[in-house]
Symmetry: C2
Subunit: 230 residues, 2 copies
């Protein structure tokens, strides 16, 4: 997975000439990009969060709208507050697009080879600027360790659309956050997992994460928060 974060630079775009695919390409060669999201991505992010709520059978807790997301996200420089990375796929190499350049972040691009082509019935719904397809996202923000006196990142959501699962894209998103944490000298990256999701726990432990068995999250929300806060 380290290769995802430290992948080769994107090939020079040659939109009007034949594309030279990497030597080890097959017919199912594709290109992946992880870039910072912005307000123009909110319609896709809203759909992805809703799909996540459906997947987790928690749609009764889902009340986000495009407007509320747009109001609360992307109001601060990336990595200082709530930050979203978008994972996109393309049949052709990604152009060196300055539209997505940011003084704080250079998109990660990588070529991949798949055994079978991806069948994505929602392709048109998730078509993004430039004709690419949005396949997943990660939402994270700074947290703080007072013992280390260092910031870290907390990953709130990591989601890959159904057609794109079991291909390493989730790990690629996680790795992109970890790489950014290392780059910024952060002390930790943390996230949550359900205790019955043994496959996920095994996967996280294999990549070196500690699963903190003794800690429980306490949550004060809704009317209880209103009552206690008043």
């Amino acid at each position: 997975m380290a290769a995802a974060a430290a992948g080769p630079p994107p090939p020079t775009p040659t939109p009007d000439s034949a594309i030279t695919l990497p030597e080890n390409s097959t017919r199912h060669s594709m290109f992946v990009r992880i870039r910072l999201a912005g307000k123009s991505d909110v319609p896709h992010i809203h759909k992805l969060i809703h799909q996540m709520a459906v997947f987790e059978r928690l749609t009764h807790l889902f009340s986000a709208t495009e407007t509320s997301l747009s109001t609360t996200l992307f109001n601060s420089p990336p990595f200082q507050s709530f930050t979203v990375f978008i994972l996109e796929l393309s049949q052709l190499p990604f152009p060196l697009d300055h539209h997505y350049s940011n003084p704080n972040y250079t998109p990660i691009t990588q070529s991949i080879n798949l055994d079978v082509p991806i069948d994505d019935p929602d392709r048109e719904i998730f078509r993004s600027d430039g004709g690419f397809v949005v396949a997943g996202f990660v939402l994270f923000f700074p947290n703080y360790s007072s013992f280390l006196a260092k910031p870290g990142f907390y990953i709130e959501d990591i989601f890959v659309r159904e057609s794109y699962r079991r291909k390493g894209f989730g790990k690629m998103l996680l790795s992109a956050v970890a790489a950014q944490a290392v780059k910024m000298g952060h002390g930790r990256v943390e996230w949550c997992v359900l205790d019955w999701n043994v496959n996920a726990i095994k996967f996280y432990q294999e990549m070196g994460a500690d699963v903190m068995q003794e800690w429980r999250i306490c949550r004060l929300t809704g009317e209880a928060l209103q009552a206690f806060g008043n």
Copy 2:
């Protein structure tokens, strides 16, 4: 506890005249203030975090210094990033001190009555600007719920010094964070508790918090973070 956050305004200071104590005061009447911390509080905050590490028997994980805390805290407006509230006690009413006024936060003050006086051997070490005594702190920062499309607060640390425990000061600090969350229209306040700390769990549940039994925190840190991020 709601009274802590919505307590009476501080009496007008009368430093050179007799103090009129509240009607229901006893000989052990005291005054409490919760205010925003700043860089000048770092020496006290450092000592408090170290005491917390000793209390949790985790001093082997403690590497914060006054310099590293000062570098990483109080670089953003309060509530937008890592934020610290300090809890102070005073024998006399707190003056209406504009030194601690902030456009974003008015200190909470309250008078309390104790059955027995507080015996604090570390009083001089924790003497703060104005001659008050620092008794505890809470460190928190914004988090985000994508289902609600709303920010919230995550409480990383809440700590009251030994001499001041079992007097409601912890709940007062928690309540101050909840009140600020309500004021800002936030959706949640979250924190962690150890699963064997049944008294704390009962206490949190009684105040309306949900203890999420199924979720586990995953942490990538140290060499594992470096390896995965590279």
